[in-house]
Symmetry: C2
Subunit: 340 residues, 2 copies
């Protein structure tokens, strides 16, 4: 049914989605240890209605694992650097298995010392950051995560792409509620969004990009060949630069443009580092001031403002009732790429 | 000469500026320990051509020290919380003497463990964040600093001010160059800028604020009575919320709206907490990847993009040659408010 031209959506249980992705990845030669964290992340994204980082990413994995440096059976190596810092070398597998290897150490250190840091190196990265920071918040910790990508984004006032889309995610544990979580690229738009405008033959909104000569352009083809722009003018540009420095130079890994050079046109997921910082809010809270944070977050939602994460949480509830929606065409495409 | 109607600018040496501010503050009853870090910060800002946080702020100090809870002779109290965390109670003096009290501990902890955190509580805050993060970068560390303010800023999509202008500053140590430093408010514009538009009878740019009914407005008077907006849409709003949580609830101090309630119309500087995180980039750098950060920052500047901090550094050089420029009217006003 799913392979008809007007393929209707299919609805799968979470274990069916996990099974689908595991069959795909293991069938294509990945170790179960490499595949499982990726399957879990894609299933979470699909369940939360976050299409950009859900099953849609699965076919592209084939380009990544075809990269000459990708190791399908990589075993991440954890190094206990100091009482506050851990580092995991992903050894040219996916970045997520390395993150999972390091998380218990990050959490234990933050609980003991109030703050801790986890550096991931040499990981091919294409999964969303929010499932990881949400998981850390489940331990009662606040978490901040960031990474470079490829050098597609021009600095504000500049003309050539040298910064990455450099996402940043944050989670804050709430009392008796799912955590406050955001995850955004510091580029004005996602590269996939620009590709979508191109597909639909529509001009881009102003401020998304520059052509190859560094001039503002609303032509998606010109912008994909030129440079993307950061969100929020010089402030977003400064933030993107901070993320670039903190998650490449600071942890001894590739900058966005080095990651792009490393890709050498393979169209694999970017291979680089990732920084996660965890904080223990229980350590310093409880001064003489009444904690206003729950009332503040409730008030943001009450004003009708978008509380980051809330749409995903609504979709998550819906998926729990009706199953996880997978577009029929995507489902067919995954089945068609499934190894025998 | 400076008190003539067309008061020409005066040019002072750094020690003359420091002396001017010290006479002002000590003359108004502040202990030398409270006054000195504030004098140093105002002199640095004036020297760097950062007028918003320079001597222009000095007259307003009189409102702050008149707040019933302000302690002109407060002695900050340092608490060594864990091997990675220090906390200083400013005890209702200025926040900066508390920061200076805690900095050696922050720096030592970051050098030893790779990451550390300093929480400041109960400080009246009006000085720029950049001189502090720049100082930390002078020790070879990266630094991130943030604080709430008063509840003037509506969340993106909301209608009422509940978040602060919530600034964030970052410094990154460079090789043989002054550090990469930014310091920006997460509001679209500074409150002082809106007041300036009002003074000049000019309409505001779109996107700066809302009127008291939560509708977009370009009328500065309406926006000052209504709400300011965050920079960069929902992303800037998320960032402002993160800063609010991390520098109030996480460190057991007042949120922006609690700080505003605490002020009770006194028009003092906001009294709240401040968070500083320091990182030791030497700990994890030096992997197999050549550090691209210096070339990247050089390239940003070469593209003609504004490298944050570079304008201040140029002004600093000029001040070192010609003296620190102080507008004649401001100089007269300070002298007029100088106690006998």
């Amino acid at each position: 049914m799913a392979d008809l031209p007007d393929s209707p959506d299919v609805f799968l249980s979470e274990s069916e989605v996990l099974d689908l992705v595991m069959r795909f990845l293991v069938g294509h030669g990945l170790s179960r240890e490499q595949a499982a964290p990726v399957a879990s992340s894609l299933a979470k994204a699909q369940k939360d209605g976050c299409r950009s980082h859900g099953l849609q990413r699965l076919p592209g994995v084939l380009d990544t694992i075809a990269h000459p440096r990708f190791d399908k059976r990589a075993e991440p190596e954890l190094k206990d650097v100091t009482d506050a810092v851990a580092q995991v070398d992903a050894r040219f597998g996916f970045s997520l298995p390395a993150v999972e290897r390091g998380l218990p150490s990050l959490v234990a250190k933050a609980k003991a010392l109030g703050i801790s840091m986890l550096a991931i190196n040499n990981g091919f990265h294409f999964t969303a950051l929010w499932p990881v920071v949400e998981e850390i918040a489940g331990h009662g910790l606040a978490a901040l995560s960031m990474n470079p990508s490829h050098g597609w984004v021009a600095p504000f006032g500049g003309g050539k792409g040298i910064l990455g889309t450099n996402p940043m995610a944050f989670a804050w544990p709430r009392k008796n509620q799912l955590p406050y979580v955001f995850d955004f690229a510091t580029s004005a738009a996602a590269r996939a969004d620009i590709a979508l405008y191109k597909q639909q033959g529509k001009p881009l909104p102003e401020g998304w990009g520059l052509d190859a000569d560094g001039r503002p352009s609303t032509d998606p083809t010109a912008v994909l060949a030129g440079a993307m722009l950061p969100f929020g003018g010089h402030k977003g540009s400064a933030l993107a630069t901070m993320i670039e420095l903190m998650s490449s130079a600071m942890i001894g890994d590739r900058s966005s443009r080095q990651s792009q050079a490393f890709d050498a046109g393979a169209k694999a997921a970017p291979c680089h580092g990732e920084l996660i910082v965890a904080f223990n809010p229980a350590l310093l809270a409880g001064g003489s001031v009444t904690d206003d944070s729950e009332a503040l977050l409730d008030e943001i939602a009450r004003q009708g403002a978008r509380l980051p994460g809330s749409r995903r949480y609504r979709e998550r509830q819906a998926s729990e009732k009706q199953g996880i929606r997978v577009p029929g065409l995507l489902y067919s495409r995954i089945l068609a790429l499934m190894p025998d």
